[in-house]
Amino acid sequence: MTELAVEAVGLVKTFGRLRAVDRLDLRVPAGTVCGVLGPNGAGKTTAVKVLATLLRPDGGQASVFGHDVVREPDTVRGRIALTGQYASLDEDLTAAENLVLLGRLAGFTIADARARADDLLAAFDLADSATRQVKNYSGGMRRRLDIAASIIRTPDLLFLDEPTSGLDPRSRSQVWDIVRAVVRQGTTVLLTTQHLEEADRLASRIAVIDHGRVIAEGTPGELKSTVAAGSVTVRLRHAEQRERAREILARVLNAEVELDPDPVALSTRIGGTDDPTALAAHTLFELSGAGVPVTDFALGQPSLDEVFLALTSPDAA
C-alpha cells in the first residue's frame, strides 16, 4: 500500500452550532496532488486548518504521514507547510525580511537564511521588490511570496488554500508552474479551489466538498462520468430543416432536444453511454438517410463546471 500523506476519517469541526466540517473523509496518497473543490463556505479552509494543526477537530481523526494531528502536532508541523487563503506574512516587513524571518524560524543560520531568501526571491521573480514592504505588494506578488515562504525548507506536504483566487491569468499560470515544479520534486500537495479548471489541470484526484462533507471523489474523468451526462451538438447546412432534425435526434437519442440561439444549431443532453462512437455513427446515419446535411457534429463530455453545479446544487444534496 502506498503511504498516505493525509488521512482524515469522520472529521468534524463545529463553530457554535455550525458544523463547518461534518464527518469529512479524505485520503491523499503521498506524492500526488489532491484538489479539494467546493463552493463558498463549504468548509475547505476549516478542513485545511484542522489538518495543518491550526484548529482542533471536535470529532473524528486526522493524520499526516501517519502522525495524528492532535496527539503529535509538532511532528506534523515538521513535515508540512501552509499557504493560507489570505496571505500569511508580516505586512509591515519587506519581502526579504519576511523570508529571512521564516528561514531563521525554519532553522537556518542568519547567513543561510539570507542566502535562501535571495534564491527564492530571484526564482519567484521578486528580486526587484525584495526591499519593499509587503503591504505595498500586488495580489500576485503577495501570493508568490507566500508560496515561496512555504518552501523555504522542503515540506513533505504543502497545503495551498485557494492559491490563485483573485489572480490574473498570467499570475495564475505562474502559480500553476510553481505547483507543478514542487510536485515534480516529490512534495505532496493538497490544494483547495473553487475553479474546476484549476483542479483539472493540477490535481490527479479531486474531492468535491459541500456543507463540510465529501460529496464526490475521484479523478477528473471519473467525476465527469458520475454525473453521467454528455451532450450532442449538431449544426445544419439549412436552417429550415431544423424541425426535421429535432424529430430525428429526439427519436434516436431518446432525449429532449434544445434549439440553440444559432438558427442552424441544436443540442441535446444525453445520458451516460458505453459506446459514444456507435451513438454518433447511428445519429449521423439517421440524419443523412433523412436528407439532412450536417456541417458540424460534436459529442461532448460534460464540463467540470457542469459537474460542479450538478453536485453542489441545493437540490442535489
Binding site: 500569511s88 524571518l101 524560524l105 508552474d177 514542487v182
Partner: protein, 283 residues
C-alpha cells in the same frame, strides 16, 4: 510594482523553469529544527524590525513620558507638595512607573491585530518552541519600556530631579520596573488573544489600567487617604512596585516592597504566561 521592463524583448511569462527545478532544497540539505533560542531571537528581531518600519510606535515611549513629567510636575506639583522641586523627587519614580505600565497597553492590541494578519497562523504551523512568538513581542516591548524610562529620567534631571542613589540606583530601579512590566505584559497578551477586536482590547485594558495606576501611591502618599482606601492602595501591586523603584532610586532599602513586587511579578508571569500559551495553542 516593478514589472519586467517593457523594452519589447520577450520577458518570461513565468519564472524560468530552470530556476524552478532547483527551487526545493534536497533532503540532505534541510536545516535542523530551530533551537528555542534561535526561534526566540528571530521573533524578537521581527518585533524590533516593526519598530524600525513603524517608528510612530516610539511616540508613546518618548513624547508621552515627556508630557507626563511636565504635566504632573507643573500642574500638580505646586498644589500637592507645595513646591515643584520637592515634589519632583517624590513624583518622578512614580510617574516613570505609571508611564511604563501604560505603555504596556499597546502589547495586547499589537497581538490582536497581528493574529488577524495571518503571520501568526503561519508561525503556528512551524515546528518551533511554542512560546517563542509570544516572548518575542515582549522582548521588543522591554526595549520600549527601557527607552521610556531613560527618556523620563533625562527629562527629570533637566527639571531638577536628583536621585540620591546615583546612576547605579537609577539603573537598578529601571531594571526592576522593566522586569515587572515584562511580567505584567502577559496580562495583555492573553487579553489580545481572547478578545475579538482591537477596540475591545483597548477598552478592557483601559478599564483595568486606570484604576490600577491611580489607586496607588504614584501621585499621593496613601497616608493622606481615608483609611479603607489607604489599605486598598497599600496592597496594590503598583504601589509595591512604585515603592521599590522609589527606594532603589533614592537609596532606601525597601525589602518588603521588593519582595512583594517580585511575588506579584512572578504571579502575573506564571498565571497569564500559561494562559497566553494555552490560548495561542488552542484557537
Amino acid at each position: 510594482m516593478t514589472r519586467p521592463s517593457g523594452t519589447g524583448e520577450a520577458t518570461p511569462a513565468s519564472p524560468r523553469t530552470g530556476d524552478l527545478e532547483t527551487l526545493l532544497l534536497p533532503k540532505d540539505r534541510q536545516p535542523r529544527r530551530a533551537t528555542a533560542v534561535a526561534a526566540l531571537r528571530a521573533m524578537s528581531w521581527r518585533s524590533m524590525l516593526k519598530i524600525k518600519h513603524i517608528p510612530s510606535q516610539l511616540f508613546d515611549v518618548t513624547l508621552f513620558p515627556i508630557v507626563m513629567v511636565l504635566m504632573f510636575t507643573y500642574l500638580f506639583g505646586g498644589a500637592i507638595a507645595g513646591s515643584t522641586d520637592e515634589y519632583l523627587q517624590y513624583l518622578l519614580p512614580g510617574i516613570m512607573t505609571m508611564s511604563v505600565l501604560l505603555t504596556t497597553l499597546s502589547t495586547g492590541m499589537t497581538i490582536n491585530i497581528d493574529a488577524k494578519q495571518g503571520l501568526l497562523d503561519r508561525v503556528r504551523t512551524l515546528s518551533i518552541w511554542r512560546p517563542a512568538p509570544m516572548i518575542g513581542y515582549l522582548v521588543a516591548d522591554a526595549f520600549r519600556y527601557t527607552s521610556a524610562s531613560l527618556v523620563m529620567v533625562v527629562v527629570g534631571l533637566v527639571l531638577g530631579y536628583r536621585p540620591a542613589a546615583g546612576v547605579l540606583g537609577v539603573l537598578a530601579g529601571i531594571g526592576v520596573l522593566v522586569g515587572f512590566a515584562f511580567a505584567f505584559s502577559w496580562v495583555w497578551t492573553a487579553l489580545g488573544l481572547v478578545l475579538d477586536t482591537e477596540k475591545a482590547v483597548m477598552s478592557v485594558s483601559m478599564a483595568v489600567m486606570f484604576p490600577l495606576t491611580f489607586l496607588s501611591n504614584v501621585l499621593v502618599d496613601p497616608d493622606t487617604m481615608p483609611g479603607w482606601l489607604g489599605s486598598v492602595v497599600e496592597v496594590s501591586p503598583v504601589t509595591q512596585l512604585v515603592t521599590s523603584v522609589r527606594g532603589l532610586t533614592s537609596g532606601v532599602w525597601e525589602g518588603a516592597a521588593l519582595l512583594w513586587t517580585t511575588v506579584y511579578g512572578a504571579g502575573f508571569l506564571v498565571l497569564f504566561g500559561a494562559l497566553t500559551i494555552r490560548l495561542y495553542n488552542r484557537q
